[in-house]
């Protein structure tokens, strides 16, 4: 079975004040279908840059990323956009919902770029919001939703195109402990349903929900192991 996400000698460098900084320095690893991975590291360790590259948002300086067996190195921006749309769902720390836009339209947004008609878009968005327990908040704009509710709208948006991978960058960074637990519970259910989850976090509490933990330091993987004492949310 081919790995869902595979990187080989992945390098990303930046020019900063005349100096070349290696944000990611030769990372090779593979993540299989159905895994639940936490990527940890201090800020500046390269974990976010790594995630952006496997999410096809950023282009590596050298090395390779394969998503679902497809090499992304030669793809143009349109092909990458299509790949993101079809296979990757993003969840951000700051939710990134469009203001003055209803929850329903926010969730339906990726389907515009998938080329679906408006009736179909709304139907799918309605179902996903229902799954997230927000069936009664369809017409609320983000300003009228709590942080936890906003993040659930964002998760519904990430899932509406039925992606293979959910990429979450500090998904609980803007939430309190109780709400964070709720979000982690949702992730647990999604993973049980077969979705591969990759969470970037610097909080050990959050990382311990995952099955596998990868730790970055100075652009390199310094630890990659199974989580022995998983925190499984009780529902």
């Amino acid at each position: 079975m081919t790995a869902l996400v595979e990187t080989r000698d992945l390098v990303k460098t930046y020019e900063l004040g005349g100096e070349t900084v290696k944000a990611v320095d030769g990372v090779s690893l593979s993540i299989d279908r159905g895994e639940y991975v936490a990527i940890m590291g201090a800020s500046g360790s390269g974990k976010s840059t790594f995630m952006n590259m496997i999410g096809c948002l950023d282009v590596p300086t050298s090395g390779q990323v394969r998503i679902d067996g497809i090499a992304t190195g030669d793809m143009d921006s349109d092909a990458l956009a299509k790949l993101r749309n079809a296979k990757v769902g993003f969840v951000f720390q700051q939710f990134n919902l469009l203001a003055r836009t209803t929850a329903l339209d926010n969730v339906a947004l990726p389907l515009i770029y998938a080329g679906l008609g408006s009736v179909e878009r709304r139907e799918k968005a309605r179902l996903k919001l229902g799954d997230m327990g927000l069936g009664d908040r369809l017409d609320h704009s983000p300003a009228k939703l709590s942080g936890g509710q906003q993040q659930r709208v964002a998760i519904a948006r990430a899932l509406v195109t039925e992606p293979l991978i959910l990429l979450a960058d500090e998904p609980t960074g803007a939430l309190d402990t109780k709400t964070s637990e709720d979000i982690m519970e949702i992730f647990q259910h999604l993973n049980e349903a077969g979705i591969t989850i990759i969470v970037v976090t610097h909080e050990l509490d959050i990382a311990d929900h995952a099955k596998r933990r990868i730790e970055f330091r100075d652009g390199k993987v310094i630890e990659d192991r199974a989580v022995t004492h998983r925190r499984i949310p009780v529902s």
Partner: protein
């Protein structure tokens, strides 16, 4: 077909995104649209005023009679050489033209002089046209009150005069002066008629005129300006319907050249102009007039377009994070570009529609209050709307392309 439906729906989505974005910054959107509105208003009105001028000129030429030629007793300077020699044109030439040129309906010879009219302490200076009874028919002139000069007046060189409404008004106010006596250059004349008003064209008062028998003008006012007792200054020749004016002009030229024994490249002592030529000449003038007007008006549209570009650049900068998000969710560069292009175009079309509406209002006001035709037809309306959309696409193009070239990750990171 399915592909087309998908495309159409993608554009519709962009229009609705644009409307949301424009509503979000309502004040800014209105002010930007105002710039386009003023530009479209100015250009539309300029086009309309230009064609109005064209119509107005054609009307005044048509008022002269459409199938006519004017022959002036001036050397024809149409070629390269100008000459200060006095031209020649006589009553005998006029009769020859009437008899020998085909299709001549009637002729009306003219002499002109500047005269001073005095009555009861009031006076007026105007130009007198010495004419025959046929002049009224040929030049499409009729009287409002009283009568025109008659053949008998011409034969007897009678001291009668027909006044234009402006002259009559200056001397008599509202009082009907028919039958009254007016002194013209000290001699008493009887006023026999008042002309119908012809209004004014290009600041020229067509009603500031007096008409009297040609024989009277010759005896009393033209005197030594003429080379011979039979001389004319202008001859009006009107033709039957369906006569080719260029052909008629060739015939008259040949006849007069033979009569004056003009050979080869010698300059004709007379000048012939047909109404066709007047029209061509004036339409050249009004075309230039229109081009200048539109060019000036275009500057305001250019300013409006720059406003669009400015505001779209602001909009792109403000929404960088949104652009990054859309890209992360699968928007292609072309999707982002089209989104901002549509936003600019929607802004411009709204401004353009307002400008068109304003131009129609302004044009109607000009027509009603200044009696100047300002036609804004369906074609001009559609043109204005399409033109505004094009302004949006042109000036929105750079900001839209800039938005589409953003790197998704940098856009997402921006504050």
């Amino acid at each position: 077909m399915a592909k087309f439906a998908q495309q159409a729906s993608a554009w519709l989505v962009n229009v609705s995104i644009a409307m949301t974005a424009l509503r979000t910054n309502l004040m800014r959107s209105i002010l930007t649209a105002l710039g386009v509105m003023i530009g479209v208003f100015a250009v539309t009105l300029a086009v309309a005023v230009g064609s109005g001028a064209q119509i107005s000129v054609m009307q005044s030429i048509n008022a002269l009679g459409s199938n006519m030629a004017l022959i002036f007793a001036q050397p024809d300077s149409e070629g390269s050489r100008t000459t200060f020699d006095r031209g020649r044109l006589t009553m005998r030439d006029a009769r020859a033209i009437e008899k020998q040129v085909s299709g001549v309906a009637s002729i009306a010879p003219q002499l002109r002089a500047s005269i001073q009219l005095v009555v009861a302490g009031r006076n007026a200076t105007t130009s007198a046209v010495g004419a025959t009874a046929d002049y009224g028919v040929v030049a499409n002139i009729s009287t409002e009150n009283g009568r025109f000069i008659s053949d008998a007046d011409v034969r007897s060189a009678a001291r009668v005069v027909v006044l234009g409404p402006s002259v009559a008004g200056k001397l008599f106010g509202d009082y009907d002066p028919i039958g009254e006596t007016v002194r013209i250059n000290r001699a008493p004349f009887t006023i026999v008629g008042i002309l119908e008003s012809k209004g004014s064209s290009f600041g020229n008062d067509n009603d500031d005129i007096a008409i009297m028998p040609i024989s009277t003008v010759r005896q009393r006012f033209a005197g030594d300006t003429l080379a011979g007792p039979d001389d004319l200054q202008v001859l009006f020749v009107s033709f039957d319907d369906g006569i080719s004016l260029p052909q008629a002009k060739r015939e008259m030229t040949k006849l007069l050249r033979d009569r004056y024994k003009v050979r080869g490249k010698e300059v004709n002592p007379f000048t012939i102009r047909t109404t066709e030529e007047f029209m061509k000449q004036s339409s050249q003038v009004t075309n230039i007039f229109q081009i200048v007007l539109v060019a000036i008006a275009s500057i305001s549209l250019l300013v409006g377009g720059i406003g669009i570009m400015n505001i779209m650049l602001v909009s792109v900068t403000e929404r960088t994070r949104e652009i990054g998000l859309r890209m992360a969710l699968g928007a292609r560069r072309s999707d982002i570009r089209n989104q901002f292009l549509v936003e600019a175009a929607v802004l411009c079309v709204i401004g353009g529609a307002m400008g068109l509406f304003l131009a129609i209002a302004g044009g109607t006001a000009l027509t009603v209050y200044a009696d100047f035709p300002v036609p804004i037809g369906f074609d001009v309306g559609i043109g204005a709307i399409i033109f505004s959309a094009v302004v949006g696409l042109v000036f929105g193009g750079y900001p839209a392309i800039r938005a589409s070239r953003l790197s998704p990750i940098e856009a997402l990171r921006s504050e």
